[in-house]
Amino acid sequence: MTTHAPVHHSQPRVDHLFIAEMVEPGSRVLDVGCGDGALLHLLAETKMVDGRGVEISREGVNASVARGLSVIQGDADSDLSDYPDQAFDYAILSLTIQATRYPKTVLENLLRIGRYAIVSFPNFGHWKIRRDLLLTGRMPMTRNLPEPWYSSPDAHLCTIADFVSLCREVDAHVEQAVAFNSVGRRLPIGATLSMQNLLGEKAVFRLSKKQTPGQTAAHGA
């Protein structure tokens, strides 16, 4: 029989801690691509959120539900359209957007489902990746991107600059953005976008849907 140890064992992931900082206590959270539920668990423990998860792998879902989290087996690309508008305060996508088939559609759905979307992703513009590509002429393999190109689930890697431009394209307002390096140190406030894009190994963005003139805010958002 498989066991499911309570989850207070491992050190929380750095990007999870940055995400948790952005979440208001007691809010409603949807974690898309929640894996084994580590972030939901962290948010439930530290922020008393009402959390739900979507996860593509059966093992991840089963582990999460056995832990007492509300998680469904589903696919960010195909199943987000089932959720109603503004059903959550935060729709979170942590280190998952690069593995989706249609990142733009997924992001649009997140902005529709949540008052805020929180997205974290590995930054393909990081200097080490640029260096490796320049020097070896081959797809970089790093700690964050350990798989060779042909077996990597990360089909849609992007840089921080790319992501900012996608935000513009889907009318997302960047409420907050944090880039951090390999040891989880936050880059100094005031670092320019191009500096973040060079030095940040990962980034976390909190976004909201821009209200177009004449459009009323849904649910007081």
């Binding site: 029989m1 498989t2 499911h4 009402d50 739900r52 059966r58 879902v61 089963n62 999460s64 539900v65 056995a66 832990r67 007492g68 989290l69 509300s70 998680v71 469904i72 087996q73 589903g74 199943d79 089932d82 959720y83 109603p84 059903a87 959550f88």
Partner: protein, 402 residues
């Protein structure tokens, strides 16, 4: 909720004259019994009323002081209320005894008060077609009104009223039991804290209806069915009901499970006999399943219950939008399916999950990897048990249960 008498009936001598099944559980079951008098009829969806009627049920554990720890278990088509005790008819362990009982890790009856009632239309003590029709003094037979899953749930709600329980901590069930869980959650939104519909669907598919029709036709083609009035003739449509069970049993298994269990192995012989004897083990197995089923189940109950399942279509009752059935729900759901279940396949569970998401319900959904087909929900599957335990204990924490 007045004037109800509750009888805790100890084991009765089987085969009383008043009883019309081989096992003698119809009127005076080996169960707790609540009788609702003629003055308190059950309004049925077909428009008729049923009165008087009775519900036979089993309970396990103790209801706590604020009556917040009750779990209602809903049984499947040919199940009964004996979920966690030796079955008085078959002598076999309760059908979910591995999951529910004293000290059991999934649903521990030291902690929860578990209720399981025989469904309306059944033949183990709740009113059904084998019961006496008070208007004629003879068994209803096919004069029994056609019932629905919703009617079964309304009857259960009367039992829960009788027990003085406002809100059930959880309603749990697989297959047709899962249909009842969904109806409970839709009809009695404030009375269900947590719902576990397992290996089920929000509607019966054309294929499901087709299999049921084969079973019903087998029963009705048996001359001993006597147009449903076999009770008076002292016969039972054994062959018909047995064939119905054989056909249905195939749908509960997977091809893989059948292959693994029997393959093309021959039964107690080395060579084919060039006859229509049960040469193959799988034939012998199905014949055995059929013949033992007849000893414990009423043929007319089989007709009525399969019909209720066929009529089940929750979306149709809610403007063709399943989500409408769950509008405003506060219930926590955990939907479970099994990979090799082709009778209630995962896509049916996904449709339920989609509808629940559409109303932003609190829902978990797990597909369990199993090659045992639909019957997997009755078997000890560790991943399944872990899921149910995790869900139930998290819900108990939310509910503030000790």
């Amino acid at each position: 909720m007045t004037n109800l008498s509750k009888f805790a009936v100890p084991t009765e001598e089987p085969g009383q004259t008043s009883d019309r099944t081989p096992h003698g559980e119809v009127e005076t079951p080996t169960s707790l019994l609540v009788r609702f008098p003629a003055s308190e009829p059950l309004q049925l969806e077909c428009g008729r009323q049923l009165a008087p009627f009775q519900i036979a049920y089993q309970t396990y554990g103790t209801l706590n002081a604020d009556k917040s720890n009750a779990i209602l278990v809903c049984h499947a088509l040919t199940g009964d209320q004996h979920v966690s005790n030796v079955n008085p008819v078959t002598g076999k362990p309760g059908w979910w005894e591995t999951m529910i009982g004293q000290g059991r890790p999934v649903i521990d009856t030291d902690r929860y008060f578990v209720i399981c009632s025989n469904i309306l239309g059944g033949c183990m003590g709740s009113t059904g077609p084998a019961s006496l029709n008070p208007a004629t003094g003879t068994p209803y037979g096919i004069d029994f009104p056609v019932i629905t899953i919703g009617d079964m749930v309304n009857a259960q709600a009367r039992l829960i009223d009788h027990l003085g329980i406002d809100q059930l901590f959880a309603v749990v069930g697989g297959s047709m039991g899962g249909m009842q869980v969904l109806e409970w959650a839709a009809r009695y939104k404030d009375r269900v804290f947590a719902a576990l519909p397992i290996a089920t669907a929000a509607r019966h598919s054309a294929q499901n209806i087709a299999f049921h029709e084969v079973g019903r036709q087998a029963v009705m083609a048996d001359p001993e069915w006597c147009q449903g009035r076999y009770y008076a003739q002292g016969v039972v449509p054994r062959n018909g009901l047995s064939v119905a069970r054989m056909a249905a049993h195939i749908t509960y298994l997977s091809e893989e499970a059948l292959q693994r269990k029997f393959g093309r192995n021959l039964q107690d012989r080395d060579e084919k006999t060039f006859s229509f004897n049960a040469d193959f083990q799988v034939e012998s197995y199905l014949r055995h399943q059929g013949s033992t089923f007849v000893d414990r189940f009423d043929a007319n109950s089989y007709l009525y219950i399969t019909r209720a399942m066929d009529y089940f279509d929750m979306a149709a009752e809610h403007g063709d939008v399943l989500a409408n059935a769950f509008w405003g729900t506060k219930t926590r759901f955990c939907v479970v399916s099994f990979t090799s279940d082709w009778l209630y396949p995962t896509r049916e569970s996904r449709a339920i999950v989609r509808a629940l998401n559409a109303v932003a319900a609190n829902v978990s959904f797990v597909e369990i990897d199993s090659d045992k087909g639909h019957d997997a929900f009755l078997l000890e599957e560790s991943e399944f048990f872990d899921t149910v335990r995790g869900f139930i204990s998290a819900a108990a924490q939310k509910r503030g249960l000790k």
